[in-house]
């Protein structure tokens, strides 16, 4: 199977691809899972409606890892994409192939940012609440954000602008007044901070990317400082807990009763549930469900889940304080620029480890731009500023 669910002929300039986390009415939406194989939605995602209204056409859908929580799609029931032995992110491949001027993707656990970083593309994950999540497959709703991958910042900006704005169908969508206020409060400091605590465990190639980005910024007159922000390094651990807990709850609805995969092997309701889920969910997803379920148990709630929520608040406050003084926090998006097949197949915890880098923006809801293989995380509503900085790296 190719990277597409379906491909339509479209006028190239206005074509976008979307990943398989977006509900579409003219093709199935599977979230990369056998559970939703052939699932046809009754309604489409709000962002697709907005893109169509803005003159875009959806050229096709790209594959995702099962419910979008893996590294780069390696857990997709319909097959992973490798180039040689190197794991590839399907949406990034589509953009590189020129199948659309951008890929619209749901950033649940950083996969789009890893994909963009490794492919040398630009990705924008906007401020949480600026783009409607109505009609996206819900996984980790407190952090997942509709994002864009494109060849350059200009295309990212254009597609983002076509999608953004208040949506009354999404209770977490920000009112226009708040967005206007937030944008007005963004002050350009001409200063970027490298977070030294986030350089842990990255290889030389990635270190070189960070150094190159810092140098480019300096050359263009941006002051580059280094901050040792210890709390941010706990974002990955906290996000693993919150994401898994929400995932566990959100995928509970797939029980074989109403839609999706139903086992043939049952004699009562308990077997219907258990066997449908056992047969349709992949191993990585199952481990995430079990982990998430544990974090929410009565026994663990306050010492695990609630603590992660508190950590989230601390990190958000700390990052906001840092961002009061500079335009962006510069940090890696990945530990390596290529995931080798043997590593992916051997280390089942790799997605949890890699979101050490992507979780700070996921857990805080702050916007982030990936460019030149690195991440620039900014304060809420600073998308424009981040995209400007991205031009420099």
């Amino acid at each position: 199977m190719s990277i597409y669910m379906m491909k339509q002929e479209t006028a190239e300039a206005k074509a976008v691809v979307v990943d398989d986390m977006f509900l579409t009415t003219d093709m199935p939406t599977t979230a990369g899972s056998k559970m939703l194989e052939g699932y046809n939605s009754l309604f489409e995602a709000e962002v697709l409606t907005r893109l169509k209204n803005a003159g875009y056409a959806v050229a096709g859908k790209t594959k995702v890892g099962e419910f979008g929580v893996d590294l780069l799609g390696e857990t997709c029931y319909f097959g992973a994409e490798y180039e040689g032995e190197s794991l590839q992110y399907p949406a990034a491949l589509a953009v590189k192939n020129g199948d659309g001027k951008a890929a619209v993707v749901l950033d649940v656990n950083g996969a789009p940012r890893r994909g963009a970083a490794q492919s040398g593309l630009v990705a924008l994950k906007p401020t949480y609440g600026r783009v409607s999540r109505y009609g996206t497959i819900p996984v980790a709703c407190s952090g997942e954000t509709v994002s864009v991958i494109a060849n350059n910042g200009t295309d990212c900006r254009e597609v983002f602008c076509a999608m953004a704005g208040h949506d009354s169908k999404d209770g977490t969508s920000l009112p226009e007044s708040m967005t206007e206020q937030g944008k007005a409060a963004v002050n350009k400091r001409n200063k970027v901070a490298v977070l030294s605590s986030m350089l842990k465990g990255v290889n030389e190639e990635v270190q070189a990317k960070i150094a190159a980005a810092a140098e480019q910024l300096s050359k263009n007159g941006v002051e580059v400082v280094t901050i040792d922000a210890q709390t941010v390094a706990y974002a990955g651990a906290a996000w693993n807990i919150l994401m898994s807990a929400e995932l566990c709850n959100n995928v509970s609805r797939y029980d074989g009763v109403k839609y999706g995969y139903r086992t043939k092997n049952y004699t009562n309701i308990d077997e219907l549930y258990t066997n449908s889920r056992t047969e349709a969910f992949g191993d990585f997803l199952k481990s995430a469900i079990l982990f998430g379920s544990e974090t929410l148990s009565t026994e663990n709630y306050s010492k695990v889940y609630d603590k992660a929520m508190r950590v989230r608040r601390v990190i958000r406050d700390d990052m906001a304080a840092m961002l009061a003084d500079c335009d962006a926090l510069l940090m890696p998006a990945v530990s390596t620029l290529s995931y080798d097949r043997t590593l992916v197949e051997r280390d089942k915890y790799l997605p949890y480890k890699e979101n050490f880098f992507t979780a700070p923006a996921s857990i805080t809801g702050f916007p982030v731009v990936v460019a030149g293989g690195v991440q620039l995380v900014g304060n809420a509503f600073s998308e424009e500023l981040l995209l400007d900085l991205a031009e420099l790296v």
């Binding site: 509900l23 979230a31 939703l36 939605s41 009754l42 309604f43 995602a45 999540r133 109505y134 009609g135 996206t136 497959i137 819900p138 709703c141 407190s142 009354s168 169908k169 999404d170 209770g171 977490t172 807990a245 929400e246 566990c248 709850n249 959100n250 509970s252 609805r253 029980d255 009763v257 109403k258 839609y259 309701i269 308990d270 549930y273 379920s293 929410l296 148990s297 009565t298 709630y301 889940y305 929520m309």
Partner: protein
């Protein structure tokens, strides 16, 4: 040994909002075709996001105020996870961490005296769907009409100690919530449901005994029977060691008059509550709080005292203040006609008789109360006969828009000034046609007058003031 029963109640009440709690589907599907009031949101389909129905919060707050609760000015929604086919998302959105109302009080009165029952909290949540079992086919069907219909759960402290107190508490809750017009509270419709937590301990002890929870009771009478059975079972276990009491959930079988332990599977489980990230905390600002506070009605006792002061008997004042609909009818009609005593007579006779005949509850009363006041005035002024006024009232029950005066005029029921001549003509005709009755009356047979009177009335189609007719009739007979 003497024992005392300790009872706490969890009462679920369906809120009477137009639409469901998180989507725009109609919340009123009692008796409707299965799955005719559903959308992707309340069917738990992926991609739909909950948007809180503000009316639900209005009603939740108002219920809290009726029960003397403190209102949480920031109230949040949480997810409660469990698997059941009638729960399409496999979670129920409820309020676990910051319920809308806390620390309330409901005052009751029984033969044991007055008592305050403390309310622990009131939380808002969504209802589940229904399973329909087809025994002949051996299949089960799911109906999602009821999913996401808004509920409040009213949790009391274990302050109740008898079936009588429980009844008084439930009746009081029902009255107050109906007064606030936030809920129907009809157990037979499932719009009020009750779980009973019960334990027994030696009288005077301050240690609670083993608690059991009883579900599945659909009338106050069934609840009373269940409490009596369960109390006896607990005492028997404590006194005679007939069984070892365990903390469990039991199902009440009203037909058999017994409670049964539910299968462990139905009750076991960890609900894994956590804040719903898709529902932002609801912040109740001063303006919102005050608007709801201003809509809280006077309590039944206050109304009753007011009515007694207006000259109503205690009995009538009690009857009217039983229902907010009767109160409104009484107050508005009295204001329109200026004669409260006459209004109460009409309500307790004609209005209640028609309600009864139509099998309507007080809560279903949908009269234009001002029009009723006008009808009472017109009748009192002799413009409409008493007999015709009943017919008009009946019509007003069916059509709220009827203006009694216009209706009477259109249907030849209005008694005009010029009618004396017309009555005289009719009376003369009747007397001429029935000289026997005239003679009988003259010879002392009182009944003969009534026969003549009836004939005249019939001829006039009831369209005249009876007093006036009687005077004219007597004048004619006596020459």
């Amino acid at each position: 040994m003497k024992y005392e029963t300790v009872i706490g109640l969890e009462v679920h009440v369906e809120l009477a909002t137009e639409s469901k709690i998180f989507c725009s589907c109609s919340a009123h599907s009692f008796g409707a075709e299965p799955n005719s009031h559903v959308c992707p949101a309340c069917c738990g389909m992926p991609g739909m996001l909950p948007v809180v129905n503000r009316r639900v919060v209005d009603f939740g707050m108002k219920a809290g105020m009726m029960l003397n609760c403190d209102i949480n000015r920031v109230t949040t929604f949480d997810k409660k996870s469990y698997y059941y086919p009638d729960l399409p998302g496999a979670y129920q959105t409820t309020q676990w961490f910051a319920p809308v109302a806390v620390n309330g009080r409901v005052d009751i009165e029984t033969s044991a005296g007055k008592k305050s029952v403390r309310i622990k909290q009131i939380h808002m949540e969504e209802d589940a769907g229904k399973l329909v079992h087809d025994i002949s086919e051996g299949t089960t069907h799911v109906d999602f009409n009821r999913t996401s219909v808004p509920l409040i759960e009213i949790v009391s402290q274990p302050d109740l100690s008898s079936a009588e107190e429980v009844e008084a508490y439930l009746v009081r809750l029902r009255t107050l919530l109906r007064y606030a017009k936030v809920a129907e509270c009809e157990m037979a419709h499932g719009t009020m449901r009750c779980d009973v937590n019960l334990s027994v301990r030696p009288a005077g002890s301050d240690v609670l005994g083993v608690r059991t929870e009883m579900k599945n009771m659909n009338s106050i009478e069934a609840i009373k029977r269940a409490i009596e059975f369960e109390t006896a079972r607990h005492i028997d276990a404590l006194e005679n060691g007939t069984e070892v009491l365990v903390q469990e959930t039991r199902r009440w079988d009203d037909a058999k008059g017994k409670s049964y332990a539910m299968r462990n599977k139905e009750t076991a489980g960890d609900y894994r509550y956590f804040p719903d990230p898709n529902v932002m905390p609801v912040v109740i600002d001063d303006a919102w709080y005050e608007a709801i506070q201003n809509s809280v009605p006077e309590f039944p006792e206050v109304k009753r005292e007011k009515y007694i002061a207006l000259g109503l008997t205690e009995y009538d004042a009690e009857r009217i203040s039983e229902s907010i609909m009767l109160c409104e009818c009484f107050e508005e009609a009295s204001e329109a006609c200026g004669n409260p005593k006459e209004v109460v007579n009409w309500i307790t006779s004609d209005v209640m008789r028609i309600l009864n005949a139509k099998k309507m509850t007080y809560e279903m009363l949908n009269l234009d109360n001002q029009a009723l006041g006008k009808l009472i005035s017109l009748t009192g002024d002799g413009k409409i006969s008493r007999a015709n006024s009943k017919k008009i009232l009946s019509a007003m029950f069916d059509d709220r828009s009827i203006d009694p005066e216009a209706y009477a005029e259109a249907n030849d029921m209005l008694i005009g000034e010029q009618n004396d001549d017309m009555i005289l003509d009719v009376v003369k005709k009747v007397i001429e046609a029935d000289p026997k009755s005239v003679n009988d009356f003259k010879n002392g047979k009182e009944k003969a007058l009534m026969a003549l009177f009836g004939k005249c009335m019939k001829e006039l189609k009831g369209n005249c003031d009876p007093q006036q007719l009687k005077v004219i009739l007597l004048e004619c007979i006596n020459g």
